[in-house]
């Protein structure tokens, strides 16, 4: 049973019986992330994002509930009113027709509404349209970018204050940028349309990715709170333990967060067709999945690397390793000689029966 397995697995990860050396193998993860980042940047630069009409400017019509979802009547209607246009016509969901074209003037726009209503034999007031000026997208994008920069600065401050370590804040921010860049890369690769709703999705990734990272970092902080008063484990080992101990949590929180997003994505893509719901959900789905990956494989290893340059931690690590060499360290070693890093398992009380019997005089 899944629960049992995940629970038992969690127990082993908690006690250190089972360990994934994520921090130790951080070079591998950095390389993977680095390559993915490079690919994302290349895709963004050379292929670019597919921008929706909100960013390029133009006009869009949606004719809902048509009897016969066919593009031909719309093409004819457009050709009649503005022959210069090259309409992109698609069927959304089951029976909605979407017509996208370039910028239209006011009179043509009104004429086309009537023409489409006639072509598909629907009442004129059921037709939705959206006319976007050419500069609107730029201002939306600019507002989003401005929001992003201010948010990053604020978050850097909050995390640095909370953890009292600016390196943690820096690692969290880098992981965040990693998520954004990677998600944008996927958009460039797949050619999904970027709309204002997608931008909403991107911006929400910020909040979510950080939520995940903060949960892991909180455990790292807890595990390393008494770092200097013990000489069994190094900082890196304890941070790695934190990742392992929060692994089940990360999986559960991610699955639970992704389930509603997946249900919007499903409804949005298969029932409604394109639209706000699908656009937000798609960006969130990709971003959340990447966010979970980055909080485990990027944020914490990076944090360990950054903090490794702190003098106190360097000295501590050297001391721990020296103790181990000398064989005096009170640590559990595996058969292959590696050190088992895990939560100490305190002995349980075994009851009065286990207490030593009083001898003599009795």
């Amino acid at each position: 049973m899944m629960a049992g397995n995940l629970g038992t697995w969690g127990n082993k990860l908690h006690s250190g019986e089972k360990t994934y050396p994520i921090v130790a193998q951080r070079r591998r993860w950095f390389t993977i992330s680095g390559v993915l980042m490079a690919i994302s940047v290349a895709l963004l630069l050379f292929k670019g994002l597919t921008l929706g009409i909100d960013f390029t400017g133009g006009t869009q019509y949606v004719v809902p509930d048509v009897a016969n979802p066919d593009a031909a009547p719309a093409e004819e209607a457009v050709a009649e009113i503005d022959p210069g246009q090259e309409p992109r016509i698609s069927v959304l969901g089951e029976d909605d027709i979407r017509v996208q074209l370039g910028v239209l003037d006011q009179d043509d726009q009104i004429a086309l509404t009537s023409a489409l209503a006639e072509a598909y034999d629907v009442p004129e007031d059921t037709i939705s349209f959206d006319q976007i000026g050419p500069t609107w997208g730029a201002s939306v994008g600019q507002a989003a970018l401005q929001g992003l920069v201010i948010f990053l600065l604020l978050v850097f401050g909050v995390i640095a204050l909370y953890f009292r370590a600016w390196r943690m804040a820096a690692a969290a921010i880098v992981a965040l940028l990693h998520d954004l860049l990677f998600t944008a890369g996927i958009y460039a690769l797949s050619g999904f349309e970027v709309t204002p709703a997608t931008v909403i999705g991107f911006l929400t990734i910020l909040g979510y990715s950080l939520y995940d990272t903060v949960v892991v970092f909180d455990k790292v902080r807890e595990n390393t709170a008494n770092l200097q008063s013990q000489h069994r484990y190094t900082y890196a080992e304890l941070a790695n333990l934190a990742i392992n101990q929060t692994l089940v949590r990360s999986i559960n929180t991610s699955v639970v967060a992704l389930l509603p997003v997946a249900s919007i994505l499903f409804i949005g893509s298969f029932v409604l067709g394109a639209g706000t719901l699908k656009d937000i959900a798609l960006a969130l789905f990709v971003g959340m999945a990447v966010g979970t990956f980055s909080s485990v494989f990027v944020a914490t290893p990076l944090e360990v690397t950054l903090r490794g340059s702190e003098k106190a931690i360097q000295e501590h690590t050297a001391k721990v390793l020296a103790l181990r060499e000398s064989g005096e360290a009170d640590v559990v070693t595996r058969q292959d000689g590696s050190v088992r890093v895990g939560a100490l398992q305190p002995g349980g009380h075994l009851g009065v029966g286990a207490q030593p019997k009083r001898k003599g005089r009795g």
């Binding site: 130790a24 507002a143 389930l259």
Partner: protein, 652 residues
């Protein structure tokens, strides 16, 4: 211990009180017919027209658009829309944009009205009258009566009552324009007329031409501008009707015009435009100063004309200063509404005037803002013009709600599989959070006019998962504490202290994201950010007042406290075979030290190894023999175990 239980009960009672209060308030609203149970829907769900406008300054303009100008633009648009009879229109600023939401499918003329630029005009006042439409007899005689040349009466403000048949509703509202640097004594009743002079009595427009002045008017203050057409308009104008305070035509700048005054509801007939907003540089307000430089205690509005405006203003004031009431007044007309009609008290040549009267600070500020806005060479650029049919909106709402329901069910199922009976705590917490969110959104929709948009609904659905995350953080923490061998009661206590911190900092970061988005973003992002921020706050409330108290109480039940197999908190499943129950009693459930849960050949303490060596020396069977089970019981990540674990040393 009972203290803890009591605290938990108090929290639950508080939560119940909050819920009851919210719903009671909502019920009151519904029963009194002021609101409905469901929140109001935004345009993209209810259908309607959304127009996003960006105010743009003409090229070469030196001014800048600030927040007060945007607010003015909004109020001008609101006046126009209200006057056009469209109900429930919403006009708001978002960043540098103005978002106009009109329900239904408004006519093109309404849409054009919205995007029209507002104009500021200065016109000389010819007549001031009662707000209500006047009968023909009265008004026709009026222009004949008032223009009787009586220069001696003109400079005094108190004379205004005599000049018009009926006093303006509040005569004190009529302000005075004073030249700040002008040395000429303002109130001097100079008998020597300037060339601008008094209109001839013959100029009184008795029925003659329709809308063209019967004879060429001598100047802009001439009664010749009161053509029969203007007089007919004047008579018909009802300044008590709200539709006359917005969206009116600005009239022909070279002809007479009638409009209502928003400050005192007076009805005014005016001559042609003398000065436009282009000639006004800026306006400001501040405490009024007397000529000696001391504060009078009142407030004034200062106008600053550019050089061209200064010349024109000098000309106008020199003419008006010698005219009788009400022709010594000039009207400032913004978007077809007279925002002020002060009496000229002196000739102002330097382009710096001030309007004083019995302003409060707010009134002065408002007038200054209106003037400043009118001075901007501003046009409204349509950025987006979106029409959503109500059928499409309903469809989206319905499918959105279905998506939400599916998401909720999936999360509930996953929680039950993962956390067994504890899953019910998650589900209950989510339902409570949902109930709180619904009530608050409905109340906000009533109180603040909040409208739920599709993006907002997406935010709510996404929030299901994010809210459930904080329960998972808490539950996993409780499990960690159980793994360390605590009893459930103390595990809940310890876990709460740790998890609370994590939940608070994570939620703080989420809230920060939501607030930043809300403040900076435009369009649909706001609706999303709002619901996300709201649910983050509700998440904290629910975890504090419901999830934790419930856990405290559940830890005292037999089912959970003793770690029933289906409770999700079974210590045996968490690798603890025994729970210390206090007072030297333990509860053992499983055979001690089953290999699958704890020991393994790869993890021996120093003491265990020494014991094993002793046993081996004594020929006894080693305790590590059971460990073979361990290898087989590891379902996942077998490859990672193969990785050299000693790499963990490379930390520094």
């Amino acid at each position: 211990m009972s203290k803890v239980t009591k605290g938990a009960r108090t929290s639950l009672i508080w939560l119940a009180a909050i819920l009851v209060a919210l719903y009671a308030l909502l019920a009151v609203g519904v029963l009194t017919g002021k609101t409905s149970w469901t929140p109001g829907l935004a345009l993209d769900l209810a259908g309607g027209r959304q127009i996003i406008l960006t105010p743009v300054l003409d090229e070469g303009a030196t001014q800048e658009i600030d927040e007060s100008d945007l607010d003015q633009a909004v109020s001008v648009i609101r006046q126009r829309v209200d006057a056009s009879g469209v109900a429930e229109a919403e006009i708001a600023t978002q960043g540098n944009n103005i978002v106009v939401s009109l329900p239904g499918n408004p006519s093109q003329s309404t849409v054009d009205l919205v995007a029209q630029a507002a104009q500021l005009q200065f016109r000389p006042v010819l007549l001031v009258g009662d707000p209500s439409p006047t009968t023909t007899d009265e008004t026709v005689t009026e222009p004949g009566a008032s223009p009787t040349p009586s220069p001696s009466a003109s400079p005094s403000a108190s004379a205004s009552a005599a000049a018009t048949p009926e006093p303006t509703p509040s005569a004190s509202e009529v302000a005075h324009v004073v030249g700040e640097a002008d040395a000429e004594p303002s109130a001097s009743p100079s008998p020597v007329l300037l060339d601008a002079g008094v209109p001839e009595a013959t100029a009184t427009p008795e029925p003659a031409a329709s809308d063209v002045p019967a004879e060429t008017p001598e100047d802009n203050s001439s009664f010749a501008w009161l053509t029969p057409q203007v007089m007919a308009d004047y008579e018909a104008l009802d300044c008590l009707a709200p539709e006359n305070y917005g969206g009116r035509s600005m009239g022909d700048p070279d002809a007479g015009y009638v409009a209502c005054s928003s400050s005192d509801l007076a009805k005014l007939a005016m001559g042609p435009v003398e000065i436009t907003g282009d000639d006004l540089e800026t306006a400001s307000s501040g405490p009024e100063m007397s000529q000696t430089g001391s504060f009078t205690g009142g407030y004034e509005v200062r106008l600053q004309f550019n050089s061209e405006g200064a010349a024109k203003f000098s000309e106008v004031t020199s003419r008006l200063v010698d005219l009788e009431e009400p022709r010594s007044q000039f009207a400032i007309v913004l978007d077809g509404v007279v925002i002020s009609h002060p009496v000229v008290q002196s000739r102002i040549t330097n382009g710096e005037a001030s309007i004083s009267g019995s302003f409060t600070q707010e009134q002065a500020e408002q007038l200054a803002n209106q003037l400043k806005f009118g001075a901007l060479p501003l046009s409204l650029e349509v950025q987006s013009n979106q029409q959503i049919s109500s059928t499409l909106g309903e469809d989206q709402l319905e499918k959105g709600l279905i998506a939400g329901a599916i998401g909720l069910i999936l999360v509930a199922l996953y929680s039950l599989v993962q956390y067994r009976a504890l899953g019910f705590v998650t589900i209950a917490s989510l339902l409570i959070a949902g109930g709180l969110t619904f009530a608050i959104i409905s109340l906000l929709s009533w109180g603040l006019g909040y409208r739920l948009s599709l993006a907002g609904i997406a935010g709510l659905i996404v929030a299901i998962g994010i809210t459930a995350d904080s329960f998972i953080v808490y539950f996993e923490r409780i499990r960690d504490e159980l793994r360390e061998g605590r009893s459930l009661k103390s595990a809940v206590d310890h876990a709460w202290k740790r998890a609370r911190r994590t939940i608070l900092i994570s939620d703080a970061v989420s809230l920060l994201a939501a607030v930043t988005l809300y403040v900076l973003a435009v369009g649909g992002v706001r609706g999303f950010a709002f619901t996300l921020g709201l649910t983050t706050v509700i998440d904290v409330v629910v975890v504090m007042l419901f999830t934790h108290p419930v856990m405290v109480l559940l830890a005292r039940t037999r089912f959970f406290g003793e770690g029933h197999k289906w409770s999700g908190l079974d210590p045996r499943q968490l690798g603890r075979e025994a729970i210390y129950k206090g007072r030297g009693r333990v509860r053992t459930g499983a055979p001690a030290r089953s290999g699958a849960a704890t020991g393994g050949d790869d993890g021996l303490t120093l003491a265990e190894r020494k014991a094993a060596q002793r046993r081996a020396a004594a020929g006894a069977p080693s305790a590590t023999d059971v460990s073979a089970v361990n290898e087989a019981a590891e379902p996942e990540g077998a490859d990672a175990v193969d990785a050299p674990a000693n790499e963990t040393k490379g930390g520094a």
